[in-house]
Amino acid sequence: MAKKTTEPTRRDFMTIAAGSFAAVGGAAALWPMIDQMNPDASALSLATIEVDLSPIAEGQSITVSWRGKPVFIRHRTAEEIEQAKAVKVDELPDPEARNDNISADSPATDVNRVKDENEKWLVLVGICTHLGCIPKGQRVGDAKGEFGGWFCPCHGSHYDTAGRIRKGPAPRNLEVPTYEFVSDSKIKIG
């Protein structure tokens, strides 16, 4: 600056205007660079699948792939349902239902873990809420953990017959995805 003035000069105005223009332009150009990494249209288009439940016998489980994630569908036995109902909600490490079909603050009772009180069918995203491994318990010979549901071999989380975390480092119950019964023996996930 050649001389000191108390009033802002035209040069000050130009400096601030050019600086702001560059900052806004830079920020606007940055956003596409960041957003390009988010799930793209082809990933979003795989959002729903339909699953036929009729071949799944009582006591059996199947795994289907939804959005690249495994979804566990278990046809629960009466005994398993009984076992899950016997637990008090305040004894659970995570007392929230984690069911995308009902409001977020619902308690993790057994009935809140299924859809439309159809308690035979338990549908879960089969991803451990700790660090994303696939828990064991879908196959006949698998370790099912101390609570008869699923057991994650990576860091030792135990889930019960309603897919609720009971023991181990996982912070939340297994997520129940959004799904609906299209007919008595068919569901649409997503």
């Binding site: 793209d40 795994t63 792939s65 491994c133 030792g156």
Partner: protein, 416 residues
């Protein structure tokens, strides 16, 4: 950069270039006539060894990328194609995979040497900080490279490590999940993830190379530390870098490369996991997920803490804290040679690190969890409590007057 230039252009063309771009002068002053303490031991050769392995990784990596296909359904097969069909592909890949291990072995020795001899203390704080940054970028690069194989261990390592960010959900609900899906480019680890990891795995080594230039620059301002921790005071304390240290570095490098060759030719999969020769399967997790050996101590720290978010914070801060080491250590004495107590605490620190490495490979149950907690506790207590207090309590032993005095075995005034 402090010493006077001794470069003399001999020919007309050298003189012509020197007036326009004095690059030959810089190389001469920094890597030929650079004054280097005369008492450096073999622990000081690892900087050179690391530079060599960066070059090995860059060269083998660039040619491997000519044959590799970063696609979820082709990646695993293209790696096998490299192993079986590509001329010398097996050699290039085994060099690259084992080169990463050698790189980490050398960097751990290099870091611990700096910690033992107080190389991070004034005036070398910036040098040390750049070093920690190189270490961080190295870890990211190694992790991404491992994922490219797209075997079961690769896939599940990516899943577990990227899921660390989901722990942020406990601060702001949804933030962690949002970040994880942003990293994945989908709702699970998949093709978009593999593609971006490949892109970044190719980029980051060049970032490391840039940081190495800054690291050497920051080294050449104060010059090398040395086993006494005493600065160069007289001409007799120093030797020109070439031929004295080019030779010493070269000899150590040759010995280290023998170890490297031993692994590459006789035990190329010794440090790997058999599960990674099974193609990635998003619907099945292997029974035991274990990271590569060089990440085991951090993995043990992560698992030692029962809370997910705190475990993640502890794991990252175990390295992040090193950035503050120059200020956590309050002792004015650099070298552990003259610090009778620090020596022992340093030994405990090394034992903790190695033990955590061992425990990281064990299943997280019973006695292993308890031991991992004890050693994790010591790791942090060492950095946050012992180092700040020790500098105030410890009475250093008598130091020699200069590097020359030490080399010639002159007893320090008022010696032990």
């Amino acid at each position: 950069m402090a010493h006077a230039s001794s470069y003399k252009p001999n020919t007309a063309i050298e003189k012509w270039l020197d007036d326009r771009l004095p690059i030959a002068r810089m190389m001469h002053d920094q890597f030929n006539d650079f004054p280097t303490p005369r008492n450096l031991n073999y622990l000081w050769t690892f900087g050179g060894i690391l530079t060599f392995f960066l070059a090995v990784q860059l060269l083998t990596g660039i040619v491997l990328a000519m044959h590799y296909v970063p696609h979820e359904s082709l990646a695993f097969d293209s790696v096998e194609h490299i192993m079986r069909d590509v001329n010398w592909g097996w050699l290039l890949r085994y060099m690259h995979a084992n080169g990463a291990s050698m790189f980490f072995l050398a960097v751990y020795i290099h870091i611990l040497r700096g910690m033992y001899y107080g190389s991070y203390k004034a005036p070398r704080e910036v040098l040390w900080i750049i070093g920690v940054l190189i270490f961080l970028v190295m870890m990211a690069t190694a992790f991404m490279g491992y994922s490219l194989v797209w075997g079961q261990m690769s896939f599940w390592a990516v899943t577990v490590i990227t899921n660390l960010f989901s722990s942020l959900d406990s601060i702001i609900p949804g933030m962690g999940t949002g970040i994880v899906e942003w990293i994945w480019g989908g709702f699970s680890v998949g093709n978009p993830t593999l593609n971006r990891l490949f892109s970044l795995h190719y980029l980051l080594p060049f970032v490391i190379a840039g940081l190495v230039v800054l690291h050497i620059w920051a080294l050449h301002v104060p010059g090398n530390n040395n086993p006494t921790g005493i600065a160069i005071k007289a001409k007799s304390d120093a030797l020109p870098f070439h031929p004295y240290y080019t030779l010493k570095d070269g000899f150590a490098l040759s010995a280290f490369v023998v170890l490297f060759a031993g692994l590459v030719f006789y035990a190329p999969n010794f440090l790997g996991h058999t599960d990674n020769y099974i193609e990635a399967n998003p619907l099945q997790t292997p029974a035991h997920i274990v990271p590569e050996w060089y990440f085991l101590p951090y993995y043990a720290i992560l698992r030692a803490i029962p809370n997910k978010l705190l475990g993640v914070i502890a794991m990252f801060s175990s390295i992040g804290l090193l950035l503050f080491l120059p200020w956590l250590d309050t002792s004015k004495v650099r070298s552990a040679r003259y610090r009778p107590l620090y020596k022992w605490f340093f030994a405990l620190f090394v034992i903790s690190g190695i033990s955590l490495g061992y425990l990281g490979a064990k299943p997280p149950e019973g006695i292993y969890v308890i031991l991992a907690r004890i050693f994790t506790a010591y790791y942090f207590i060492h950095l946050l409590v012992i180092l700040p207090l020790l500098g105030k309590i410890e009475k250093p032993t008598a130091m020699p007057g200069s590097i020359t005095d030490d080399v010639l075995g002159k007893k320090p005034a008022g010696a032990r």
